[in-house]
Amino acid sequence: MLTRRVFLRGSAIAMAGMGQAPMWLARAAAAEGRRRKTLVAIFMRGAADGLNIVVPFGDPRYREVRPTLGLQPPQPRDENQNNGPFGPVIDLDGKFGLHSGLRPFKELWDKKQLAIVEAAGSPDPSRSHFDAQDYMESGTPGKTGNGWLNRALGDPAQDASPLRAVALSNRVPRTLRGEHEAVALGNVQDFNISDQERLAILRNMYSLTPDATMRRTGKDAFEAMKMLQSMAKDQPPNEGGRPPFSPGAAGPVQNNRPSYNAGGQLGRNLQELARLIKSDAGVEAAFAEVDGWDHHQNENNQLPNLLNQFSNAIAAFSQDLGDRMEDVVIVTMSEFGRTVEENGTGGTDHGHGSLMMVLGGTVEGGKIYGEWPGLEKEQLFEGRDLAVTTDFRTVLSELVLGHLGRNDLSSVFPGFKPSPLLGLLRS
């Protein structure tokens, strides 16, 4: 039976494609249930140095293992001063502190929307970026396969959106590859074929082609394009009269508020994602990535700006979504951490344990989770790296269960039994 929902969705999109979608119809389609819970995974490629991101300044070994890279402990007198990304650590709980490049996260921490899981990572010992990223994205340490976030989607509802799974990148990353359709949106502002005749012929061509890969690729691309255009018609133009779904213009950062513009490529990507979420595009799983964390040398001159961009992008996203953050959880991860001891060139080499951050309106934040394994030689993994005390799948399991509402993890993380959940989400 053709339900009202299916009718509304089908006709809204078809008519929008011909430029005739009445506003009420598109809005009705949206109101009919495209508001969804969204899980956003952000991958820090290159192995981020957890020890200098959320700093264990309370561990007496910290300054010894980081004689030149070690960051200054919090200075009580500058508690509320913004010292820029090169200042002392920002105190969180008397033992751990944020790198000063992460200042935009302080407010989220104070609002209890940011949780940090220390010493999280993969049980697999690989120190290869390539393998470790593949294992983590697959959710199967030591093995590769389709992505955990794709498996976490479960069967689509009848009215599932073509933008149900979205990667804000040029290609669909392994995290989102698998049975369910996923769309890679890189450069959204040029995502358009303006000549309607050429568009129609190409769409027809890709739907007919015997080349199965190209047929699927074409279908995903044309459907996503059509949907974005139909949504753009309904949206008021952005500040400054720019059309919706176009990149933000650079502007001054005001009142120390976090800003997408200060967030680099991630900022642009999350701005697009926020627009999709706010216009009820039905996004359930989203992926974004930031590279450049492989700091073998000169780390203290590179990490501050990278963290400043990273935290501006995410905090601006949270600010932009406002109350809608109740529907959104962000989780960050990196393939492994870096050596506890700094190396000989003002950097750190490939290590093991790192950390994860979880942000959102329903997050039980303002707390450091996970057991701190310590930095004494005998406490380290293979005598050199931070040990992993929380399997990354334990963190992800909780979000798949509690946020996406799946009740069976066996297909998402096959063969994995999560340790007791950490209680990252408010019940």
């Binding site: 393998d131 990667a167 040029n170 450069n187 061509m205 190209m214 074409g218 000989g344």
Partner: protein, 396 residues
């Protein structure tokens, strides 16, 4: 870019592109105070380190990349040194930055930071350049290889040339993959490591697999990779011989290998411009478009280079960008690229498609064009824009 379009030696261009990605460097990486150095070095890297060796012996290619400043900077080997160097010679804290001769080797800004080993190159030369990640090395081998290469550095940013700096070298004994490298070796330690790695059976297999993937299929037949591996071992890593084994194989001409590969954005752009017989007077816009299609040239941050498989290039926005690129070239709207389609005036869509593809287009593609343009008298440019955006043109 110009060579990719115009060279008469297309195999060489394909190989240069392939090996530049295999030995990836990111020309946008900032090396301390030496901003933009990567952009200065990338041309020489491709021309002097990669191009002369793509049909030579693998060992020579590996050595040329190991010694090139672009690689020495990118994977940090230039400042990796024996830990005790910090207290001797120019790195002794009290010596500071003076006009002593050895000091000119390291740019001043990093002097206070560099004081010991950096594992980056030691690991990636094994994982990515030679053995492959499952090639049988350990963390101890990573450290040993990194120690072998200490002192392989760059004179300075103003004269970026290879130099061996003895005071940075770790002269102790090392064991690399079971081979003992005795103490007091000097620059030769690195050469010995290169020889061990270049002739290792895991390298023979890893290099053969990569080439077969690039030229035959994303998942090439094992028997073909095995034969190429044998050739590699028998010929001391002669890449021309390995390529010949591949080109003469039945698998290379098999049905499954025919257009099994999706073009990279660079291949897409070069093949579009070549097929159109277009003239490129300025590469800027084309390079921008290639970046929009997902391949920022010479700017891949990770040492892995771009994954050499189809899904790397087939994101939704990237696929539309590919279709739009063909249309922009065909209609003459891409700055720096001019076209003349008058030679196709009066030809039907089937003939124009054949001229562009080098073979007949699929019936489905021809049908879609015929139906869509029915009753019209389309210009050759309109037909070409559709053929260049078709699934048929996506593969090679």
């Amino acid at each position: 870019m110009y060579r990719a379009v115009y060279s008469n030696r297309q195999l060489e261009e394909v190989l240069v592109d392939y090996w530049t990605n295999h030995f990836n460097v990111d020309s946008t990486k900032n090396v301390g105070m030496a901003q933009n150095l990567g952009h200065v070095l990338i041309g020489s890297y491709e021309r002097d380190a990669i191009r002369p060796h793509v049909l030579g012996h693998f060992r020579d290619l590996l050595l040329a990349t190991a010694r090139h400043p672009a690689m020495l900077y990118y994977l940090d080997n230039w400042e990796s040194m024996a830990p005790e160097s910090f207290n001797v010679g120019p790195f002794a804290p009290r010596r500071g930055i003076v006009n002593g001769v050895p000091n000119s080797i390291i740019p001043n800004g990093l002097l206070r930071l560099a004081h010991g080993l950096n594992e980056n190159y030691g690991r990636e030369i094994m994982e990515l350049h030679t053995l492959g990640v499952k090639g049988g090395y350990t963390q101890a081998d990573v450290i040993a290889v990194a120690r072998c290469f200490t002192g392989w550095t760059v004179r300075n940013p103003e004269n970026p040339e290879f130099v061996f700096a003895p005071f940075m070298h770790d002269f102790g004994e090392k064991t690399v993959l079971g081979h003992r490298i005795p103490a007091d070796g000097g620059e030769e330690d690195g050469l010995k490591a290169i020889d061990i790695l270049a002739h290792h059976p895991s390298t023979a297999k890893f290099i053969s697999l990569g080439l077969a993937r690039h030229f035959v299929a994303d998942h090439p037949p094992e028997a073909l990779v095995d034969r190429m591996t044998q050739t590699f071992m028998k010929t001391d890593g002669d890449l021309r011989a390995v390529m010949e084994t591949m080109f003469r194989s039945p698998e290379f001409f098999s049905e499954g290998a025919w257009e099994a590969r999706v073009k990279s954005p660079l291949e897409m752009a070069a093949s579009t411009i070549r097929a159109m017989g277009a003239e490129m007077t300025d590469a800027w816009s084309t390079v921008q478009r290639i970046s929009d299609m997902g391949q920022a040239l010479y700017a891949k941050a990770e040492p892995t280079g771009y994954p050499d498989v189809a899904e790397t290039w087939l994101g939704a926005t990237a696929v539309i960008a590919r279709m739009n690129f063909g249309a922009a070239v065909a209609s003459g709207e891409l700055p720096g690229v001019s076209v003349d389609t008058s030679r196709w005036q009066g030809m039907d869509h089937r003939s124009i498609a054949k001229a562009l593809l080098g073979h007949d287009a699929s019936q489905q593609t021809l049908d879609a064009i015929a139906t869509g343009l029915e009753g019209r008298n389309p210009s050759p440019a309109v037909v070409a824009s559709l053929v260049l955006g078709s699934p048929d043109f996506e593969r090679r």
